[in-house]
């Protein structure tokens, strides 16, 4: 189901209310958001899919499109795929149906939402639409009414009464349409399910991992995570600073982490570019930090409101000099909790920088999820004890991790340094110190046991899809579909992008004759990265497309079925 309208139409509000109400009634769902660049008044879309199991993929096409108006619709009409069997409910007051929509052959049903809303005191067209959806999907009107009343509780009784009257009128209007798209109900209790966005999930994972200091600079589509974190960090005894820029953000978290407090910053591509020098300092001074990059369309300012996976290269290779660090990426919204918590654990354990690559699609989508499981590992930083004789901050040890003295600890005072240094931390330009410290910083990452967390692996067969990040949802759906046609396909969704677990990846690919690498980039960054690191089978293909169009499961399954079956 897709809802579109220009800003102020309340499209996202309706989407959120619908997801919430459907969740209460026992459904699982996913709501993606697509928006234009305008602050107010731009085009906006809420894209929903419901199922009786958790929904990680937004669907190939929309069965129902509700359009409040068509203003600027041309800017994102290609993101809203329709089929001939689709229904389009459009308000005639919102203008003529655009040609591309007519062309789909979908059933067009004009329905007056604005006019009807105007007849009701405090009436809003979006509430009429919500009523329509209620009758079309069989979603209980009482559930929607109570969800709406709860969310509007601050706006006063008149507004709530107006909204409820609109819901009822919309529901009555809907009954005469003869469209039935019953909501899939999972028949589960509600106690173990959440609605959560990817941005919130990353924030929660950071808190669970022990992050107690965050510095950040506002940037789309990451600001919401900072806004979510600010009051909650304060309530947990932590602190968030809105920095003057991203250069300050990354250096502030370095300062906090040097002080012994697990620290994180949150940004998007342009901010990550500014932070790269600071990330290099984290690597050289061996100060743990976590940097979350919520990727958006690039380069430069690019497409700030829409998704892409094109920061992979800068995350992997962006630092000057040789700066081994960790890059991880959540494979779903609920996995954002785990992956971010793991990122904090890795940063603290390895005393290095960890970059978490989320993206707009994960970050700004809201999903009904089963409560993500609690993870057992406890964040642990090896610290120096007071009064250790001959303390050497950068001492060479077999695992590469040396004890870090925390300010306030007596007798182990040292100066952290971005200059190359000897074991004590004293600046050194000597080749021997450089080689030893380079080796120390590299081996601590490659020698670490990342366990099974490096990838999500499912299925069997001689065909495998290797993917990462938000593409995983579409890939899983594609694999399920071709599986139903009798073609088993293996899924390898990498969570740990750097250092790449080559041996484990080779093992996971054992018996595989054909590989499809799926990513949302133009220049096939992930494909080239994999090829540079491991020997993939001769029959390895790439399916890559830049944002903002998400990859459809149908495209992936089509590629899997060509020749390969």
């Amino acid at each position: 189901m897709a809802l579109i309208g220009s800003g102020g139409a309340g499209v996202v509000t309706v989407g959120n209310l619908l997801l919430e109400a459907a969740a209460v009634d026992g459904s699982y769902g996913l709501m993606r958001r697509s928006a234009g660049p305008q602050i107010r008044g731009g085009e906006s879309a809420a894209l929903l899919r419901f199922a009786d199991t958790p929904v990680e993929y937004a669907g190939d096409y929309y069965q129902l499109l509700i359009a409040f108006d068509w203003r600027h619709a041309e800017r994102f009409i290609d993101e809203i795929r329709l089929a001939a069997s689709s229904c389009v409910l459009h308000d005639p007051a919102g203008g003529d149906v655009p040609e591309p929509i007519v062309h789909t052959g979908a059933r067009l049903i004009p329905i007056e939402m604005q006019t009807q809303a105007r007849e009701i005191e405090c009436g809003r067209a979006n509430m009429i639409a919500l009523g329509l959806v209620s009758s079309i999907t069989g979603l209980k009107l009482e559930t929607i009414s109570s969800t709406v009343s709860r969310s509007l509780s601050a706006k006063g009784e008149n507004v709530i009464a107006g909204a409820c009257a609109c819901l009822e009128r919309g529901a009555n209007m809907g009954q005469s349409l003869g469209i039935e798209l019953p909501l899939p109900i999972a028949h589960v209790g509600t106690e173990d399910r959440w609605t959560i966005t990817g941005n919130q999930a990353c924030g929660l994972g950071a808190l669970k991992g022990g992050v107690r200091f965050v510095a950040g600079y506002p940037i789309t589509p990451a600001s919401e995570m900072l806004e979510w974190l600010a009051p909650r960090l304060a309530k947990m005894g932590g602190c968030l600073i809105q920095a003057e820029d991203e250069l300050a953000s990354v250096n502030m978290i370095l300062g906090a982490s040097y002080g012994g407090v697990p620290a994180m910053t949150v940004t998007s591509g342009p901010g990550l570019a500014l932070m790269t020098e600071g990330i290099g300092l984290a690597v050289a001074s061996e100060t743990p930090i976590v940097v979350i990059d919520v990727m958006r369309g690039g380069p430069s300012t690019g497409i700030p409101t829409k998704s892409e996976q094109t920061d992979l290269n800068i995350a992997l290779y962006g630092m000057h000099g040789e700066a081994p660090h960790v890059v991880v990426a959540p494979v779903s919204i609920p996995d954002s909790v785990f992956t971010t918590q793991w990122a904090v654990h890795l940063a603290e354990s390895l005393q290095t920088a960890v970059i978490v690559l989320s993206d707009q699609q994960l970050a700004q989508s809201r999903m009904v999820v089963n409560r993500p499981p609690d993870i057992g590992f406890v964040t642990r930083r090896v610290t120096a004890q007071a009064g250790v004789e001959n303390y050497r901050r950068y001492a060479l040890r077999a695992d590469g991790v040396s004890a870090m003295a925390i300010p306030g600890t007596i007798g182990v005072n040292y100066t952290a340094d971005g200059l190359e240094h000897d074991e004590r931390g004293t600046p050194s330009t000597g080749s021997h110190d450089h080689l030893r410290q380079l080796n120390k910083r590299a081996t601590k990452l490659t020698g670490f046991d990342y366990g099974d967390h490096w990838a999500d692996i499912e299925g069997d067969g001689t065909i495998a899809v290797v993917t990462w990040g938000s593409c995983t949802g579409a890939v899983k759906e594609a694999i399920r579909r071709v599986g139903e046609q009798g073609v088993p396909v293996r899924l390898i969704a990498l969570r740990l992008l750097a250092p790449l677990c080559k041996q484990q990846l080779n093992q996971a690919l054992e018996g595989v004759e054909r590989v499809l690498v799926v990513e949302q980039t133009f220049s096939r960054q992930f494909y080239h990265y994999l090829r540079s690191q491991v020997d993939l089978p001769k029959f390895t293909e790439s399916l890559a497309r830049p944002g903002p169009l998400p990859l459809a499961a149908s495209e992936i399954s089509a590629m899997l079925l060509v020749d390969g079956a």
Partner: protein, 278 residues
């Protein structure tokens, strides 16, 4: 402040690392003044963090035995701010040069002044980039032509550290001379005792690339006005503007609420998770 035994001396705050500075460098005087101030305040070395960026003067943390962080060019104040926010118990001194603080780090300088965190910022101003071998800095006179990078001068008005700190909201502003380490040490003590962001511009000669600065010792003098220090920003601005930049002393002191974090140990992670439940 954490009083130590009376026996603590400035040398107890020095490390055994030999400075990279040239003979006659003003920064030796600043290092001495910092260690004197720390001894005078009797601060435990592990309770002090000396934070810096890049440049000759930014090498200073390694020459002390307090906790130090020698970061990257221009970002010392951000490093210091993060450390102070995370560890309000520590005494933070940020130190560096005019290029580090006013050029590449200029934005952080403005916002550190605004934020008014409780820390001390010491800028060793020699009107030149020494580490990169003698280029013009933001405080260099526009007609200085000794650098091959700007052979006809910079044609840019020199940065006015004190006036800009004032406009940006610093609550303690002073100017000092590295050739008078005892006076400077007293000033560092005042700055560290000041609740809020304390800024000291130290005229610190570079004998290598600005040999004419050896004359500074004959030029610098205390501000010849009784009105200073003042808490009146208009008066402070007037004296900053009238001065040739070579008068020393505490210029401005203001009692303004210090940045502080909202410490509310109220809830646990379980409480936060409740908000997601259907």
């Amino acid at each position: 402040m954490n009083p130590l035994s009376d026996k603590i001396e400035p040398k107890d705050y020095k490390s055994d690392v030999k400075p990279v500075w040239c003979p006659g460098c003003g920064d030796f005087g600043v290092l001495n003044a910092i260690t004197k101030a720390l001894a005078s305040l009797r601060l435990a070395p592990e309770q002090v963090a000396l934070i810096s960026g890049i440049g000759c003067s930014s090498r200073v943390p390694a020459y002390t035995n307090v906790y130090g962080f020698h970061g990257i060019h221009g970002r010392a104040l951000a490093l210091g701010a993060g450390l102070k926010a995370a560890r309000p118990d520590l005494h933070i001194v940020v130190a560096g040069g005019d290029g580090d603080g006013f050029s590449i780090g200029g934005n952080h300088f403005l916002h550190a002044c605004r934020r008014n965190m409780d820390m001390t910022y010491i800028v060793m101003d020699n009107e030149v980039y020494g580490m990169t071998k003698g280029q013009a800095s933001p405080t260099t006179a526009p007609d200085w032509t000794e650098s091959e990078l700007t052979p006809s001068g910079t044609h840019a008005r020199p940065f006015q550290p004190a006036a800009i700190a004032l406009a940006a909201g610093a609550t303690f502003i002073a100017r000092a001379f590295s050739g008078k380490p005892n006076t400077l040490a007293q000033m560092v003590v005042l700055a560290m005792q000041h609740p809020g962001f304390a800024f000291i511009q130290v005229l610190s000669p570079c004998p290598t690339f600005r040999p004419e600065q050896k004359e500074w010792k004959n030029i610098v003098r205390p501000f010849a006005v009784d009105a200073l220090p003042t808490s009146d920003p208009a008066l402070a601005a007037l004296h900053c503007q009238r001065d040739d930049g070579m008068s020393t002393g505490v210029i401005y002191v203001e009692a303004r609420p210090v940045w502080k974090r909202s410490d509310m140990q109220e809830i646990a992670i379980d409480d936060i998770e409740q908000e997601f439940r259907i």
